[in-house]
Amino acid sequence: MLSIRDLHAQIGARKILKGINLEVRAGEVHAIMGPNGSGKSTLASVLAGREGYEVTAGSVEYLGRNLLEMEPEERAHAGVFLAFQYPVEIPGVNNAYLLKAALNAVRRQRGEAELDAFEFLALVRDKMQLMQMDESFLNRGVNEGFSGGEKKRNEILQMAVLEPKLALLDETDSGLDIDALRVVASGVNSLRGPDRAIVMVTHYQRLLDYIEPDFVHVLSDGQILKSGGKSLALELEKRGYDWVRQEARVA
């Protein structure tokens, strides 16, 4: 589904990604772990098409298309979704309005009929129950005055409504207490399926207790130094990141 080859990217003159290689197939859940500043969030941003990043080498193929040539909204239409580390506030814009506009934009692109207000409400109510969100959320401004946990839940709600093929979760666990983490994780888990791939970027092993990955990758200084199964995450939790770096240097 997603094939990243020798991806180099920089912000201004600062090189951040220095040759990323990653294969993600449908149905898989990947966790990308690494210390602060290793390039985790940059990778997620580049995949979603955020401006300000310059790709200097390498390629990203998504479902047979050159992902890097697509506009952010085209990526969304093609099924890419980024759950933001810091969801943005848009004052005065109704949460439900944004979500309905987003869903119908995506449906239009898929050649599906747009949902009217009633169909949309029925769908979103369902998903809100899953996320244990109160319906009053719908009528508040997008992320306006939301707590950190509410913002993250709102991200996963959007994901549940938009049903992407490739979900990128950028530090979705940061700032969550344990109860909120459970809710968010169960939301993500409900979206696991044979047609969908999930790439989680995270600092801590904690999230992986709730969302079990098929693969774990260690990102450090812009490169994937080591890949493995779930056990790698546990090892990282115990030993930190330094040994991976040393191992890589020796190799």
Binding site: V88, I90, L98
Partner: protein, 481 residues
Amino acid sequence: MSSQQQGLDALVAQKYRHGFVTDIESDTVPPGLDEDVIRLISRKKGEPQFMLDWRLQAYRHWLTLHEPDWAHVRIAPIDYQSISYYSAPKKKDGPKSLDEVDPKLLATYEKLGVPLHERARLAGVAVDAVFDSVSVATTFKDKLAKAGVIFCPFSDAVRDHPALVERYLGSVVPYTDNFFATLNSAVFTDGSFVYVPKGVRCPMELSTYFRINAANTGQFERTLIIADEGSHVSYLEGCTAPMRDENQLHAAVVELVALADASIKYSTVQNWYPGDEHGVGGIYNFVTKRGECRGANSRISWTQVETGSAITWKYPSCVLTGENSVGEFYSVALANHYQQADTGTKMIHIGRNTRSTIVSKGISAGRGQNTYRGLVKILPSAEGARNYTQCDSLLMGDKCGAHTFPYMEIRNPSAVVEHEATTSRIADDQLFYCRSRGISEEDAVNMIVNGFCRAVFKELPMEFAVEAQNLLSVSLEGAVG
């Protein structure tokens, strides 16, 4: 008939021959302004003597005035002698069918959802309906008459209800008020007149579309709304004008009078032609709008969405004379391309316990310059007066400007006056967030701008709120990216 009068008629006839030899249906006074032109306008409209006297007084006063220069706008000099001060429809002028109308203009109407027959009218196609200086027939007159509401073209009111006109005209905006209001007083051609009798709740929203159709005609309309004791009325004013390369002057006056326990809600969606993307053409919209809460417990509420005009220069104001009276001003002003908007309000607190609210949202894009200018004045008599002002600016791009000039004159120590102001930009983060959800950049901008304006839009009547949102998106096309 005096010999002077005969001389005038001869003069007029002569000008006519020169101006419109072949066009028998035309009825436009040749450009220029003097007392004879004013007498001619007054006579064409069959006005009583008091009206003519008032016009002439205004004209003589106008001659002593100079154009004001305090607004934060750049303006090309206006040649008042090159304007034609009266224009009735000319069937041979303008396009004959929609096929002849600029497709760009039609596309705009389509986006606004204007019905097809309306599009023809708005685009200036010579159909039977009447534009320019003569009011469009008022359809619901009968139903209103049953409720005792008078809603008619101003010229009809002068003929049919002279006592009301004489009593209230100029009582809020005197003919000496300011350069443009004085000019309007001398030469106004039409507008709307509304009288709602005691205790009557007007059974429908009243609305009039003002238009400037013919080239080189100034539009000087005059609107007077009187809400008698305990009555209520909501008035909608929508404005559009076809494209012209030259600038056109629009100097209107609106007067509102609310007697005891009465309320008036006045909503405007102004979409005069703003000029093209290089700043060529467009309307000069210099308007004096003022309401007086004359009686106790009365209320006047202005809501305006100003997206058009090359230059907008207006301050819908409230004079709060009656005890416990309330003044409100809700405004969205947009300046894109080379548009300039200098707008705001004045709240003059005279009576005890008077309250006012000001919510102003300014949007600047392209090279647009947007200025909020507001005055809150609390007189010594206004014991317990309150004002709340919120003034927000949104900037798009790096070549536009937002300016705020809030004036406060507080002369009673019991007054409570609050002012809040913010300036923000549409953040790249917000745009990216929407786009990453599949929403196009343009839709995202519209969404964010509409969110910014929500506090004002919710004050608009339903159908106007939709039009206002559509207008904003049309006016902002190409503002980003």
